[in-house]
């Protein structure tokens, strides 16, 4: 019989439907089976969820979270409502911790490099090799431990380990806050970052600090911002002085687009006006000007053409800003600065000028202004050595560091995150032996001789003294909420103790415990003996359970009220604001920024975060170049056109253009964090590494990377793509006459 095409289609359709329909009637075989698990913890009731409090380690903010655990699997992350800094709020980054925990690319056993490949080895064998190399190192100062900024007992452990061994340690942060910390020290005499009381502030002036997205403690600040805007009683104002239209600028009542590097001059000019017009606190004005009054700041008078040129803001506008900031009716008013404002060759000058404004209006040590954080409650965590573990090394320190012979890297990826001029790649290549503690095969781990897979933070113990804290003593506790998913991972602290034991360093006795958990319990015992604060109990077990349940311990009455002891005069010399040369053609200031979701790229391996739209452009899974719409028109560029962004030294990357009316004409912006050549299936091959463009410029005084001081040229490549993004195909435009955001034109 001949089968026609029609019959064939009919029959195959019928048999397909039949197969589906009849299979659907059957109950799958596994439904008739039921498993006895091997172990069943007492608090595990199948079908009933448990919520455990722990700390989020996805970003340096260190929010406390509660994790929903069902039958031994972590299912959902929420903010811990009890914890003083984030107060029940959390970030998308915290949510995505689950993906890091159950990631298919996680390394599940120690790896040894053989040629270009890594082969699995046992923990004993890995440790034997490490101890052999470290024990045999003649000059022990040529051992370098590189970590993220560490706090709490982890910092104590790493610091004691390095000291006992005789090596060095450095903390890595991609856009380090070195200059900010120095400015806080210079202006307020504080070693710790202060509290910015956005919640009770009435007039918030922020210079370059993208505090709603990535700057210091965005979750805490976002919560406070909600209170500022919609809290009971008052509606505070927020003015953002920023060279990029960031998410924070987009939320502000007013955005003042300042020329890159001109933030400090603008602040000085405001100080001049405030003092001149008699609106300043006289004692502070005297101290800041060395008794010279506004005349001492004459060089920064708004009428000086150079001031207007450097800041891009006209004299009238500067005076208006100064008056609004100092207006008694607007107090408490607060000036904060950071991000791109401190990332110039004049970074320290800028930030000192900005933070000094607070002294002029009496906004220091007062609600709604800047308050200070007390030292950690435990004396062992408050030593200089331990506190130093929390301070990142500056770009200059990376550049000038002595090359290590044995290098141990933990949880950071400086090969990807440092600008090429830091030569970190060469340092890794030059080291004789490199150990990486890493859950994933990122660029740095890929170069390591031994890779030690670390527990995910949801599987490990730890604690944290938040920096910046909430203004009083806090210790957050991190506990394992699930059993280790892979049998072959271990905790960093515990492995460090084990290595130290094999090296005969006596670290156990130095810190007084042989596991991280014991170390934390010992710390908790000291807190219990203080018998004050959020948890008090008649016995230690009761106290310990309380700390585990609430995610930490804090004492809201233990504050620092020392105030500013002596005010240093402002630096009145005109700052050195310099930029790298663009390689030719029209020069643009490149303002890189941290991604709202993947941060500096340490979270680029998590698809949830890759797919989280950027708040301004709604772009996902990419690196793009933000450019002014009119500039793009002039250059004949349309959305999605690929351009070559070239910096001095012939370094270039390619990225699609995203024209946007709120990009200052001489500025372009690119997010940081993509362009991975390793780091798993979701990170590799996505976007480009913006850090690779940056010039080797740093702040003269602090050595902090001047990451906003690179100039680039932009040229058209003859390709274009449809940029993956969430929004429709419309430009960001004002939709009606009632413009919410006032865009001031640079003059």
């Amino acid at each position: 019989m001949e089968v026609t095409r029609r019959q064939f289609l009919k029959w195959s359709g019928v048999s397909a439907i039949g197969a589906v329909a009849f299979n659907g009637c059957l109950i799958p075989e596994q439904e008739f089976q039921i498993e006895s698990p091997v172990n069943l913890p007492e608090d595990l009731v199948s079908g009933i969820d448990n919520w455990y409090a722990t700390l989020c380690r996805q970003d340096p903010e260190g929010c406390s979270i509660i994790v929903r655990v069902v039958e031994g699997r972590a299912k959902k992350v929420e903010g811990n409502p009890d914890y003083p800094t984030n107060q029940g709020k959390h970030h998308a980054r915290s949510e995505a911790g689950l993906q890091a925990l159950y990631h298919p690319d996680r390394i599940s056993q120690p790896l040894l490099r053989e040629g270009d490949a890594h082969v699995p080895i046992s923990w004993d064998e890995a440790r034997r090799r490490i101890v052999e190399r470290m024990g045999g190192l003649a000059d022990r100062s040529r051992f370098l431990l590189v970590t993220q900024p560490l706090r709490g007992h982890q910092a104590l452990l790493a610091s004691e380990f390095t000291k006992a061994y005789g090596g060095r340690s450095m903390a890595f942060e991609t856009l380090e806050q070195v200059t900010l910390r120095r400015a806080v020290m210079d202006v307020f005499g504080q070693e710790r970052l202060p509290v910015f009381d956005i919640e009770r502030c009435n007039y918030l002036l922020s210079f370059g600090a993208d505090f709603l997205s990535t700057w210091l403690s965005p979750v805490k600040y976002s919560r406070g911002y909600g209170e500022l805007r919609q809290g009971g009683g008052h509606r505070g104002l927020h003015v953002q002085v920023d060279s990029r239209f960031s998410m924070t600028a987009a939320n502000a009542d007013e955005w003042v687009p300042v020329r890159p590097g001109g933030e400090g001059v603008l602040a000085m000019s405001m100080a001049y006006v405030i003092i001149r017009d008699g609106m300043a606190d006289p004692a502070a004005a005297d101290a800041l000007t060395g008794g010279g009054g506004h005349e001492a700041l004459a060089a920064f008078s708004p009428d000086n053409a150079q001031v207007q040129d450097v800041t891009g803001v006209n004299a009238g506008r500067i005076a208006e800003l100064a008056h609004a900031f100092a207006d008694p009716g607007n107090r408490p008013s607060m000036a904060i600065g950071g991000g791109s404002a401190g990332a110039h060759t004049s970074g320290l000058f800028n930030l000192r000028a900005i933070y000094s404004l607070n002294l002029l209006v009496g906004s220091v040590n007062t609600p709604g202004g800047i308050e200070f954080n007390p030292a950690p409650p435990l004396r062992e965590l408050a030593t200089n050595d331990v506190m130093a573990m929390g301070v990142p090394a500056s770009f200059r320190e990376w550049r000038e560091m002595d090359r290590p012979q044995v290098l141990m890297v933990r949880g950071v990826n400086p090969v990807h995150g440092l600008p090429p001029d830091a030569n970190f790649r060469a340092a890794v290549e030059g080291a004789e032996f490199v150990v990486a503690f890493s859950g994933f095969m990122d660029e740095t781990a890929a170069m390591a001789d031994i890779v030690l897979p670390e527990h995910n933070y949801l599987e490990d113990w730890g604690d944290d003294v938040p920096d910046p804290g909430p203004g009083y003593e806090v210790i957050g506790l991190q506990q394992p909420v699930v059993a280790p998913f892979h049998g072959g991972t271990r905790g960093f602290g515990d492995e460090l103790l084990a290595i130290a034991r094999d090296l005969g360093l006596d670290l156990d006795n130095r810190v007084g415990a042989s596991t991280v958990k014991d170390l934390l319990r010992r710390g908790a015992e000291q807190l219990w003996q203080m018998d004050r604060g959020s948890i008090r109990a008649s016995n230690f077990d009761g106290f310990w359970n309380g700390v585990l349940q609430r995610g930490g311990w804090w004492d809201a009455s233990a504050r620092d009220s020392s105030g500013v002891r002596d005010i240093k005069p402002l630096d009145t010399a005109w700052p050195d604001i310099s930029f790298s040369e663009a390689p030719g053609g029209r020069a643009f200031n490149l303002i890189p920024f941290l991604s709202n979701s993947i941060g500096d790229g340490n979270l680029a391996h998590l698809p949830w975060l890759q797919a989280t739209p950027d708040p301004i452009t709604t772009i996902v899974w990419h690196t793009w170049l933000e450019m002014n719409t009119r500039t793009a028109d002039e250059m004949g560029l349309q959305k999605g056109d690929i351009v070559v962004v070239t910096a001095a030294g012939g370094r270039s990357v390619e990225a699609p253009v995203y024209p946007h009316p709120a990009v200052p004409p001489d500025t372009v912006s690119m997010p940081i964090g993509q362009g991975h050549t390793a780091f798993g299936q979701y990170a590799e091959g996505v976007g480009v590494n913006t850090m690779s463009l940056l010039a080797a410029l740093s702040d003269g005084a602090t050595g902090g990377l001047a990451w906003a001081a690179t100039k680039v040229s932009v040229s058209k490549a003859d390709r274009s793509i449809d940029i993956p993004r969430f929004e429709g195909n419309q430009f960001a435009e004002e939709v009606d006459e009632q413009a919410i955001i006032k865009i001031t034109k640079p003059e």
């Binding site: 089976q33 039921i34 091997v38 172990n39 069943l40």
Partner: protein
Amino acid sequence: MLKIAALTALLGGLAAGGLVTLIVVVFLMRAWWSTPFEVMGFGGPPEQPIPFPHTVHAGVGDLLGEDGNPVMYADGQPKTALGLDCTYCHRNVDKGASASVPPVEQCIFCHKVVEDSEGNPLPGLANLVTAWENKEPVVWERVHRLPDSVRFVHEAHIRYFTQQGNLLPSGEQAMFAANVCATCHGDVAAMAEVKQVRSLKMGDCLDCHRDYGAPTDCTTCHY
């Protein structure tokens, strides 16, 4: 000739139609009204990976062998059952939706020391020991299973019947969770191999819900 052909066709059509109708009716009856075959006595209890006797663990008094006579130790003393409370193993039954089967670890609590008189592990425990040594779960054949469309919560039923004044259908007052189980599961303590004894169909649920004035809204169970 034509008439005969038409008649044949008609009769054939009727017969075929009747057959189809019959199949549909039987199917519907089977699906909605019938008592499961196992409960009516067709087919025995499922074979389990470990021949776990509830009689030994949950029963009380002397153990009876297959011949109905008491089982003796070598010294002539009768073996007695352990009389464990149901919730000793099914420990989630008064906490959550499912009663839960105990973890392998819990079996091993006792069975690492329980041996026969020659010091050999008890017969039938080989699979348990293997599972424990390999840290693998034991996969049991399910005896009681409700359709996916139903949410049955053990905890709520246990809570109701252990409250003072809420008598069981048998007329007794349940003092403990374990007194309630037999209402639906039968006298499991007397079963060497567990099998289902009640239909546990929707009608069965509804009868009981009506008797006790419990809600009979669809969303009580179908949610």
